[in-house]
Amino acid sequence: MSNIKLAFEKKKLEGKKAFIPFVTAGDPNLEATEQFIYALEKGGSTLIEIGIPFSDPVADGPVIQAANLRAMENDIHVNNVFDMVAKIRKNTQIPLVFLMYANTIYHYGIADFFKRCQEVGLDGVIIADLPCEEKEEFDAYARDLDIDLIALVAPTSRARTEKICETARGFLYCVSSLGVTGMRSQIETDFGEMFETIKKYSKIPTALGFGISNAEQAAVLKDYADGIIIGSAVVRIIEEKGVEAAPALEAFARSVVDVL
């Protein structure tokens, strides 16, 4: 069983939902990112998403776009992030996944990229601009090396859900809102309808994200899925506190984990 699936299974046995926070690698620098990951784990997180900076993060809203820019100013290369993951793996086995855009992998070389993922002990990769139609080009390599290529399902997926679930591994990333990532005061998606379809086809754990920003929203939405993903609200804390953000991140994670 993959490290990711195992982590979800453990939460299930505890009768709890998983918490998945997101940080952008290199914001404000890679040493800080490493410390943030330890802090989020200490706060009870189940899995950490690490955003790989890209010039044009079209699926992301203003908060994560700004984090990308801050990280790009430090000239963060995906190789630097691989090195960071290798270092983290000496200290913790918490599941780690990259969230990135297809071009970074394509430019790196798909085979080399997933080989390096395996070497450093990365568990999965989420590619924001890779629908199931184009997935095989990447998954052919990821699958062989037991790296979970995480599939996304959106409120607009509807009849596509079955096809998406067929090849999904690790966990299913359920996009809770249309548009880009970012905090929303209100989420208008009809989750009842969306999850009725998802539960029919998904054989793996589900996690809900895009627009969820605090413990209150997490508490309301947790019943739909096996986990809750929070990105922009975490990045906002880093934006405000900079290298000193670790204690605040730990406290934030705990506040969310407590309601799950």
Partner: protein, 395 residues
Amino acid sequence: MSKKGKYGIYGGQYVPETLMNALEELEKAYDVYKNDQAFNEELDFLFKEYTGRPSLLYYAEKMTKDLGGAKIYLKREDLNHTGSHKINNVLGQMLLAKRMGKKRVIAETGAGQHGVATATIAALMGFECEIYMGEEDTVRQALNVYRMELLGAKVNPVTTGTKTLKDAVNAALQDWAQNVETTFYCMGSAVGPHPYPEIVRDFQSVIGKEIKVQTLAKEGRLPDAVMACVGGGSNAIGTFYDFIGDKEVALYGAEAGGRDIETIETAATMTKGTPGIFHGMKAYFLQTDNGSIAPVYSISAGLDYPGVGPEHSYLRDINRATYLPITDDEAVEAFEYLSKVEGIIPAIESSHAVALAKKIAPTMDKDKILVITLSGRGDKDVAAIARYKGVDLHE
């Protein structure tokens, strides 16, 4: 095409899942209407009565004599209503949007030509219309911003990234992801996820079809070479498409060299780029060492784009078409040249094709025929060229 939406290894649908349903919906609608008689009759009617098609194929006699080589014809897309080839594609896509029951259309624009065409047809057909334009381009093409507003569109300046065409596409894609159920994205070039490159190419292919008919009528044979400027590549693919099977016809694309292709201030995607994945497609892109999209530069807002359409990428790889860079200086010189020699002020985008013709035509024999597509007229560029030349203008 080997597989749905693929041109060799290029093309595809690399977009967030949120947009996939809309792309499927668009593909289905296009498959229904592309061979629908009533749809095509309506499009032909608008081409003829609203935009003034067929556009003229003009024998540039003075230019031919001056360059001393091939006989040069100009395909006058600059004479279309709204002043460029962009309206061909917009009319087709908006007729599709109407049949799909969409009420709101959005579009990106670089120089403003596609934005103006979209705003125009939105006014004609009664759509709510929002245009995304890089802030940098709203300054370079201020008149076109006012023109779009005059036509009833809302123009949103995009302040992220390089504040140019690439960022306008990002913003339009984000708007679409947010409003995908109600909104039609009218893509301006033969780029983006399938089925856009195919749709845009098909609607623009009227250019090459007419060139074929007109050259046959005037010369009794096909041209030896056709030439067009290439940013995303819509007027070029429209020019090329009907000639791809005619192996004896050479296809030339003029891309934006910017200040110098040996610097980073260039948009010469084919010359300096590598295959990549961005804006929904696999194609040639200018990229940085870590696989980000490079900031690009060209004097021409319409060619100031880090990528090129997937079909052009494929035509380059199989050596069916030749793509060569033209610098800002060469384009400005060609802008002035055509104005003085033929009394035709070309768009700065199209001036890149004229500049390439000035290099290629003299190397061709006098009995050869070269057709240059003038994608747009240069009125919009006059102020910017004056600034480039250091002339102080007061309007």
